[in-house]
Symmetry: C2
Subunit: 387 residues, 2 copies
């Protein structure tokens, strides 16, 4: 670990996020064999409770995989090779949908959105009209690379009027940004554990709507590990749920702990907390004279900021991490050095935001950026004080 | 634990302090039987390395006990019932020496110091002159209750000129405040693990000088668990050190980890870090218009602050803990409600100080204290920027 007592390690990135002590501690439990009633009883609880986070009545499939594996599962199960998949591309993760589709022989059709902007529902409508044979529309709840939150509810309404299913990458958004799968009519939601679920990475979660499951049953393309119907059968065949292949037992145990915390806080409160932390972060950054990269549709999970004139975002990130132990991140793709991003999701609280802004003020001054030190913190405090 | 995701738990108290992840993790190791070469090899390393923290060549005795047990061991081993023990009393922990001495049939003679002040070496000199039959002088390195650091080096010089031995309660000071046992000529140093050693409570450490050991051998009062000569024999009789009774194995394993971190940082750097953090904390508090309780001889381990006019320190402490998760503490004894105290020792860094001041600013405003929010943080930043 190379632990340095003088600089504690803190994650203020848009994932992985910090993990609460009780969730960390849950990884220290003995490994239960997964084909036992003991493990399956815990798994049963997890499978029930996770629905509260997705806001769905549908089963949620757990996959021993990173979030990208969950995205691949959605593409593979809801489309066949040669079929058209509409993809909202306005950042690295929207683009990832297209890359997966392309690699697996689907035909991605991109709805290109300017980076830093959210897609307009009308653009989805136009794309569906132009491509009536599209079987799937893929969007992103929180586009981590740009710090944009897309209008999933409005998008879902439009896709619902088409034959296509609507899949949402909620990997970095679930448990931070508002998302009501059933109420909004989203057909596939993918999540990962290392974001709003406040856990280590390594577990992907996928839920399909009735329309989604019906569509999946019509697709005959090759699949094995990602076969969601196989997983569904294991989940529902007997009284206690099971998985077709070995689940990552420790992460399931940790998810059980994390879900206790999520249930105790409640989804509405969780969303409000993220709204508050992001509002305070934006206020702080603005008060320092910095410019937001996505001012019009900022994600509540991550705040993206233009690096000051003449400075690379990576320089700020490096000093924050090396000298303050605070892991914020730079940009990705074409804004790799132009922006930096502060995550405030999952296990993050108000003190984290104040600390991050206070350290950022020092770092900026050391990088010869003139900032009104103290004022970034004060602006965030104002938000917390309801001013 | 009642973990609350919205308010992370952070300790900014003068002990117990936060524990680094690698040290916490060391408690998860299997319990080694203590009478094995495996455990004793680890114990041997711990017994050697701990000397670097005490700055002594003498053996350091570990006792499965709280710090107060270590103080009792010093009284019991370096004095006999009926003998005079001079005690510097200017706070709860100086007073504790007197209480122990009294309870065990010694004759405590107090050098009373005004709370919030350090003892003047001349006062020790006068007390020794008035009590030439005193066998022991007991002082406190960092008087946690008042936030005062006593002039141990100067005190040691004076006591060295007498027949008495000089014992220092360094429980909350070791690993934070400068202390050079051998060079300064301190005869007994007591420490605990839950302070500068960045560990859970439960282990006391006692080192005696040659003069101390010689004096201990002349004392015949009843003792068993606290008998330091017995412990010394176990420590040195064989090639690998041992303890007369069962040691707290897990804490020894954790101490091994903690000492790695301490060795990596180095004592001079550790002292400087505490000097920096305490200077920044005092600057921040001053900038908010609050008054320091011990401005003349502040401890680098803890900053004590007068509660603002009309407000009890406990009200500030409660809001900091309940609404921000930051455990600072109120006063003790006669200043229980008049002051509050911020600890910045052990596993504490600059971001902790900025965060604490930022939260304190909000709490004070909510308690209707007019403070220039942002300015406390800025003053601390100034210190970190070397301004």
């Amino acid at each position: 670990l190379g632990e340095d007592v003088t600089i504690k390690k803190r994650i203020m990135a848009p994932g992985p996020t910090e993990v609460p002590p009780t969730v960390l501690g849950a990884a220290g439990q003995p490994i239960l064999h997964h084909r036992t009633p003991q493990f399956r009883a815990i798994f049963a609880q997890v499978c029930e409770k996770i629905k509260l986070v997705f806001l769905t009545k549908q089963p949620v499939i757990t996959l021993a995989a990173g979030g990208t594996g969950g995205m691949e599962a959605v593409i593979i199960n809801l489309s066949d090779p040669g079929e058209k998949v509409l993809v909202v591309s306005g950042g690295v993760f929207g683009e990832r949908w297209a890359k997966i589709a392309e690699a697996l022989g689907r035909v991605p059709v991109k709805v290109n959105v300017e980076w830093g902007q959210a897609v307009k529902p009308a653009e989805i409508e136009a794309a569906l009209t132009a491509n009536p044979d599209a079987v799937l529309v893929c969007g992103t709840l929180s586009e981590t690379s740009t710090g944009v939150e897309h209008p999933i509810e409005a998008m879902a309404k439009i896709v619902a009027g088409s034959k296509a299913a609507f899949a949402v990458d909620a990997i970095s958004g679930l448990g931070a940004c508002r998302l009501k799968m059933d109420e909004w009519g989203v057909d596939a939601v993918v999540a990962g554990t290392q974001k709003g679920l406040m856990m280590p990475p390594g577990l992907a979660l996928v839920a399909l709507s009735e329309k989604g499951w019906a569509q999946a049953r019509t697709k005959k393309g090759p699949k094995f590990y990602w076969n969601l119907e196989t997983a569904l059968k294991s989940l529902t065949a007997e009284k206690l749920p099971d998985t077709p292949y070995t689940p990552n037992v420790s992460l399931i145990m940790q998810l059980a702990e994390s879900l206790k915390l999520i249930e105790a806080e409640g989804m509405e409160a969780i969303w409000k907390r993220h709204e508050l932390l992001s509002k305070a972060t934006r206020a702080g950054v603005n008060a320092l004279g910095l410019k937001l990269y996505a001012p019009d549709s900022p994600s509540v999970a991550v705040t993206s900021v233009w690096a000051p004139e003449g400075l690379e975002g990576t320089a700020i990130v490096k000093k924050m991490r090396d000298e303050w132990g605070i892991s914020i991140v730079g940009g990705q793709g074409k804004v790799k050095t132009a922006i930096f991003r502060i995550g405030h999701l999952g296990y993050a609280d108000r003190a984290d935001v104040l600390m991050t802004l206070a350290a950022l003020e020092v770092v900026l001054e050391e990088l010869k950026v003139t900032v009104p030190r103290g004022q970034g913190v004060k602006a965030a405090q104002d938000v917390f004080l309801g001013k």
